[in-house]
Assembly symmetry: C2
Homo-oligomer: 640 residues x 2
């Protein structure tokens, strides 16, 4: 191990350039623009005032033209999907209600019109949505069905005589629930419903349904309720929608993947109902990716605040000195914040890579093979789960690290906590998402399983699954080069050998996945549910360790791109901390499976302690490198 340069020798700007990555220009523009405007903190506002303020800010945002980035140039968009996701991520440094409301309007509603609709919808709606002349909702979730969207129960029955669909909520548990923009502002909703034509159900499709008239009154047959106060995100007007035989024209069906002719004949380019459904959902992957990025921004903001506070706050004298100790000098405090900071960097680079992959796939038009699309969805699901759980944990840690001061609204952390809390369960419940990741690995993203629910799939894995195939992300090449160049080693120093670390993550993933496959192979139609249920924590672990491997590889590849030696040295150490604190937390597994001896495991605990001490002087540099606009960090506890 070479020693690190002193903290002052490392310019946070060098790290910022690396972090900013491919969409650096957009990041810089947004920082400059934010610096010119006065950020209005939402705390202390009541719900109604908060909603008003967020709507005003949404209009300001529309005027910047940036929300056009993700739409096709044909309708005045920017044809820049990656840039669009990046701008959501930057928006998430501020009031998260604004980020979510923007996400509903442009990401979910606008995205559905663009990707599930066809020319007739694009021409009529896209500009108005981009410019906020039309406010939209994305009405998928129902009170009774959140995770299991395939079984939602709102119906859209085609009436050939009138050439209309009749949208109906059969009972209260089928009402649309938690719908952003519904309670106050939305005019048009993308409503997901079971399409029925000629007496036959064709599965879930999306329909454009006006929910309010020009004056803001509920449209005929539409009942709108307010979800009321929430734990956070109170600047977003979530509501409930109940449809009582609401009629919309035949052309209100977003008909990219399925259409109904005037006479009621159904047609679709995709034969299987299940595959069609997952293809439709898959196009909406942007939402999950944006949530992962936004969770990252909130985490960075919390860590920046907590580390700045930890460098100012003093408590208890040293026994050999009358001076009180800066709390970030305590090992326990470092242990709370620095491994979380290392993981935040790792997740940042994984997110950057995911956004690039999305950008390539969605910019390629329709010419993407199914497997690539499905790998993307799986990575999005996994990273969304990892990033949002990390946000919940880290923001909580940051609050505790700031004591009573961290509990005051003026010091920002309470809103970060409350607003991000729902990220772990919206846009896909994390536990369900990790199971999707595991399913993807086990089926190797093959088509034949698209029809099946997660539970059903497991039953069919028996003979099919051979060996885990590590897929080739762009980061993967770098890792392979490093691993191949290194001799296998197993001495004490090996803990800091990147090749050893990468192999350890890979080996864990393969072993866990093989074990899951072996267990599920025992399934028969009779015991399938029980067998799956017994193995559920094993399945979740498979999803988790897979994501951890991908995240490490992204971190390694990013370090490889860094050409400033001092910055690179610092990142190498930070990556060691990411790896070793991960193995430390999971060292029981490594010991149980003969991968680590007890002595080795203890050495890892000691190494994490040492790395915390070594990185402590660089903590400020590492958070300053996030380059969060100062006005988002204006906590009074950092000023006095």
């Amino acid at each position: 191990m070479t020693s690190l340069p002193t903290a002052t020798e490392i310019d946070p700007g060098t790290l910022t350039a690396l972090l900013d990555g491919r969409w650096a220009k957009i990041r810089r523009e947004i920082r400059e623009q934010v610096a010119d405007t006065r950020f209005r903190e939402p705390y202390g506002l009541d719900v109604e005032r908060h909603r008003e303020q967020v709507l005003e800010q949404l209009h300001e945002l529309a005027r910047t033209g940036r929300p056009r980035l993700g739409f096709s140039a044909e309708y005045g968009g920017g044809d820049d999907v990656g840039g669009s996701i990046t701008s959501f991520e930057m928006l998430a440094f501020g009031d998260l209600s604004l980020m979510v409301k923007a996400g509903v309007q442009w990401g979910l509603c606008g995205g559905a019109v663009q990707l599930l609709g066809t020319r007739r919808h694009h021409e009529r709606y896209l500009r108005r949505i981009m410019d906020l002349d039309l406010l939209g909702c994305f009405a998928m979730t129902e009170t009774g069905h959140g995770s299991d969207v395939q079984h939602l129960r709102t119906t859209a029955t085609y009436d050939p005589a009138a050439q209309e669909f009749v949208i109906t909520t059969p009972d209260e548990s089928a009402r649309k629930d938690y719908i952003g923009n519904a309670a106050r502002d939305g005019q048009l909703a993308v409503v997901f419903a079971q399409l029925i034509t000629a007496g036959e159900g064709r599965g879930v499709h999306a329909f454009l349904v006006p929910i309010r008239d020009e004056e803001g009154a509920a449209a005929p047959g539409v009942r709108i309720e307010d979800c009321g106060v929430k734990a956070g995100l109170n600047g977003v007007d979530n509501g409930r929608l109940v449809f009582d035989h609401v009629r919309v024209p035949r052309t209100a069906l977003l008909n990219q993947y399925g259409d109904v002719a005037e006479d009621g004949t159904y047609s679709s380019p995709i034969e299987s109902d299940g595959k069609r459904f997952f293809t439709m959902l898959g196009t909406l992957v942007r939402g999950r990716i944006s949530v992962a990025g936004s969770a990252g921004s909130a985490t960075k903001r919390a860590l920046t605040i907590a580390i700045r506070y930890g460098e100012r706050r003093r408590q208890f004298q040293r026994p050999d000195d009358s001076e009180e100790v800066v709390i970030l000098d305590y090992r326990a405090h470092q242990r709370q914040l620095l491994p979380a900071l290392a993981k935040t960097y790792a997740l940042h680079f994984a997110q950057e890579e995911l956004v690039a992959a999305l950008h390539e796939i969605q910019s390629a038009g329709g010419d993407v093979d199914d497997r690539r699309q499905r790998e993307l969805e799986s990575r999005a699901a996994g990273l969304k789960a990892a990033a949002t759980w990390h946000a919940t944990e880290t923001i909580q840690t940051a609050r505790e690290a700031c004591g009573g001061a961290g509990y005051l609204a003026e010091n920002i952390l309470p809103a970060l906590k409350a607003d991000t809390d729902v990220f772990t369960t919206f846009e896909g419940d994390n536990t369900v998402l990790l199971q999707l990741v595991a399913r993807g690995l086990l089926t190797q993203y093959r088509d034949d399983f698209q029809d099946l629910s997660p539970l059903a799939t497991m039953r069919f894995l028996a003979e099919q699954f051979m060996d885990a195939v590590i897929e080739r992300t762009s980061a993967r090449k770098v890792v392979e080069r490093i691993v191949e160049a290194s001799p296998g080693r197993d001495d004490e120093e090996a803990l800091f050998d990147r090749a050893w670390q990468c192999r350890a993550f890979e080996d864990r993933e393969e072993h866990v996945l093989d074990g899951v496959a072996r267990r599920l192979r025992q399934a028969t139609p009779e015991n399938a549910f029980e067998l799956f249920n017994e193995a559920q924590d094993h399945v979740l672990r498979a999803g988790r360790v897979h994501v951890e491997r991908l995240v490490l590889e992204a971190f390694v590849a990013a370090i490889d791109r860094c050409d400033d030696p001092a910055a690179k040295g610092l990142l190498e150490r930070l990556c060691d901390l990411y790896v070793l604190s991960n193995i430390e937390a999971d060292r029981a597994w490594f010991m149980e499976h003969g991968r680590l001896t007890g002595t080795r495991a203890k050495a890892i605990v000691a190494a994490v302690n040492d790395l915390c001490g070594e990185l402590r002087p660089h903590a400020r540099t590492l958070v300053d490198a996030f380059a969060i606009p100062e006005q988002f960090l204006a906590a009074p506890m950092l000023e006095s």
Copy 2:
């Protein structure tokens, strides 16, 4: 292992009787009284309305006479310390702002007057405080000193000419901060300040300082600020107090442990400044015990809600059935909630035992030996840390287990989360508290270390510490009987052998503590801080595993008291789950130290899975046994 009776055979009432314990009568009275009044949910109220509502409720509470329980009969109190703590615990099933405001008024302010003051203060103030004719504050924490109260910087300088103390805030970092009741309602504050007389500092003492006049205006020389909106507990008016040469009479000093004569001569029954300070703090241990109990109540409420929801909510079909699965039938869901439920039971019994110990000691008058008092303080500190971290984690888990519905204010969980969040850092930061626990163990609660700060103490442990002595709590005897009656065994079944389990917890505690002592013994005056800092995570672990052993023993003793065979069988299984999920989470340590083989460790993971499945049918019984008044569980998501 014998199999459990079916769930319907076990009457939750039997468990309730055991849980209700020694102060069952008070618990029942409060339940009945609550059933008669309409609970007013605070969500949706703005800060000002919420504060008003809580003040009204505080007056209603005063009218019940129950707040008198903890005060001496001589002044109209109930002389029932344990009953008083129990009634705070019950209060914490409702709006936690009310519990905290009551705690400030009667526990902290009233407690300080009773325990630190003398007859002159008791006669003048106690009745008015009990009846809420006088609203009080407890002004200890300063902006710059929270955990390190010994070094707070407000001064009280005695002026013999006027026979007055002059209370002064030397600078902004010495302002009193986060003081409950200060921003709006408080009239009198117990102010902790450095006593200076005849030019000499005598350490921290408490003074009664009027902060508002009859009309509610700030008293001359007192500046009052509002801490504003907080993450939660917004029904409590926390504020800041700044004193500019505020004069109070000599008799305003709460002079139980130190007095100043008219001529300025200082006298105290306790020679050492440090010991006097800790003795004064020690009398205030009730606050921490109440917080631990309240954290328990909030946890029980969250678990009851999440488990009821988990029994109603269905998602995804079984592969072999068209019926959707109740989510509590999923192993992953059980894993989230059931070990948390087992720990909640364990902590409940430990809390009950702690309250009884407090009651015995404080009812004994002054005749308590120092060691017993210090053991009590240490257990209070440790249990407060364990119970509040458990609350934060479990309420978060409960929220996630209820998905989007759990994020709506109407479904209660958001307020529970937000309100309890600060529990981990107020009334003693948990990390600091665990270090106090470890210090107590290492010094064996001896007097000679009372003078020293946690850091300084560590330096002196070198030769002193011999072997960990397991102290004799009342639960301890039961455990010793069980352990002695059992042959040492090490087969597979041993995992479920209570004697093996108790030995495993004991052995871990002793080993960790010995290790810490060995490390700290290396200290020299030059390296003391660094050495302590390197060992800090080890020190914290010593505190943690000590508390875990105490908690287990309390659980074991409680089961021993249960004479209903069915209920007892259920509790035995629940205790297995508490033990084995604890060892599971810490199994790396057991393997590293040769206590478990890898095979054994895997068997523990499997056993936790099995226990979750086995206890699943009893989950509802176990939460119903908490007997939380139904109006505190009226979440709409549990009704539709």
